[in-house]
């Protein structure tokens, strides 16, 4: 995996004796950031030439290139819009989140 998995229903610590100090495992995530978003980036696969400018410039690393095709990780995208602004081919549009 190229990015950490979220721990679903994190139970918290059994007690302070478990840790002794506020220490956690690297890359431990317990919630998503999807709720921050008011606009969502949508990739038009026909216009995308896979130049990966958006991939480099995403502050959250939510553009995924693992499969050889560009995808958005909507669990962690905050909808800042940098990808859409920087895309030289107009392949990414920001669309309002529904509900």
């Amino acid at each position: 995996m190229s990015r950490p998995d979220m721990i679903k229903d994190y139970q918290g610590l059994a007690g302070w004796s478990d840790v002794g100090a506020p220490v956690v495992k690297s890359g431990q995530l317990i919630e998503t950031n999807a709720g921050w978003r008011t606009l969502r980036p949508v990739i038009n696969a026909e216009k995308c030439v896979f130049c990966l400018q958006c991939y480099l410039l995403c502050p959250d690393g939510t553009l995924v290139k693992d499969s050889g095709k560009l995808e958005v990780d909507y669990d962690y995208c905050k909808g800042c819009g940098i990808c859409a602004r920087e895309c030289g081919f107009g392949a990414i549009t920001m669309e309002p989140e529904e509900d």
């Binding site: 990015r3 950490p4 956690v24 890359g27 995530l29 317990i30 921050w36 819009g81 602004r85």
Partner: protein, 301 residues
């Protein structure tokens, strides 16, 4: 440089080692950290002093760094980096990197003496200063790297005076004056240039320093989607420069023939909203003086 593969978006790893953090949407600092971590990789220790990245990356019980990391006192970033380097060496570790991410205040004001000491000892550390030109984490206060006219809570706008007064401290040359092995300036608006500078810092056997311009949409009063564009404009209008210092020589990586107007860059941001024509003139004069010096003394591209 010739024997190193040039990194680009295609050959950089898919692995995200700074992921799921709680930075504001469009944060330039988190982009700088994310890209640097991709280059430095898993075999590393991260040190973050009091700044946004420690607030958004270490949200107990979440931990956004995919490597070992710790938060250290504000003034001690470089000292802690030195300590970790020594400790890892004593444990017989090889092939590890120690990297610190401090903000502009944590580098140029509060952490300056620790950085100076670590560079003087030439410990094998990578020190990355992400410069958003004020103390953003505590709610935008003026720092030593705030440029002329910046509106912050400690340099407010008013009838007689508005914004920060001094010129930006020249942190890059301060570090270079220590005769450091490798130092560079970069910008998140030029990500490829930045990641390759991080790769060079990684390969350097002694202390290395990178000063990366990372706009903050919250503190700069800009939309979240213009972060990288602002970073690029700052370079294009001559208010920031891409340069390296190695073997006692300064080298300019990008020498713009013509500068874009500073007015377009400044008026795009809420923090310079009170600036008038005479202020733009002062900024331009400062810029021209700086570039005259650079072009006279540095190797240019």
């Amino acid at each position: 440089m010739s024997n190193m593969t040039i990194l680009n978006a295609r050959n950089i790893t898919n692995e995200e080692l700074f992921f799921g953090h709680k930075a504001c949407a469009g944060c330039g600092g988190s982009l700088a950290v994310r890209l640097a971590m991709k280059v430095i990789g898993r075999r590393s220790y991260v040190v973050v002093p009091a700044n946004c990245m420690s607030a958004v990356g270490f949200m107990y019980p979440a931990m956004s760094f995919g490597v070992s990391g710790l938060c250290c006192p504000f003034a001690s970033t470089a000292a802690v980096l030195s300590g970790i380097t020594q400790a890892a060496r004593q444990l017989g570790e090889e092939d590890y990197y120690v990297v610190g991410f401090a903000g502009d205040g944590g580098t140029a004001d509060i952490g300056l003496q620790a950085l100076s000491g670590a560079v003087d000892r030439n410990d094998r550390i990578i020190y990355i200063c992400y410069d958003n030109e004020a103390y953003m984490n505590t709610g935008v206060q003026e720092s030593g790297l705030s440029p002329y006219g910046t509106k912050t809570t400690t340099s407010p706008e008013g009838a007689k005076k508005h914004g920060a007064n001094p010129i930006k401290k020249n942190m890059f040359e301060i570090v270079a004056a220590h005769n450091i092995g490798y130092a560079a300036t970069a910008s998140v608006g030029y990500p490829q240039d930045y990641i390759n500078k991080v790769a060079r810092a990684k390969a350097h056997p002694g202390a290395s320093y990178i000063h990366v311009m990372a706009p903050c949409p919250t503190g700069w009063g800009a939309e979240t989607d213009v972060t990288t564009q602002l970073a690029r404009e700052a370079v294009d209008c001559g208010l920031w420069y891409l340069a390296e210092y190695e073997n006692g020589e300064f080298r300019l990586n990008k020498n713009p023939k013509e500068f874009k107007p500073v007015k377009d860059y400044l008026t795009g941001q809420g923090r310079f909203r009170r600036m008038r024509e005479q202020d733009f003139k002062i900024v331009e004069e400062q810029r021209d003086a700086m570039w005259a010096k650079i072009r006279k003394n540095w190797q240019t591209a």
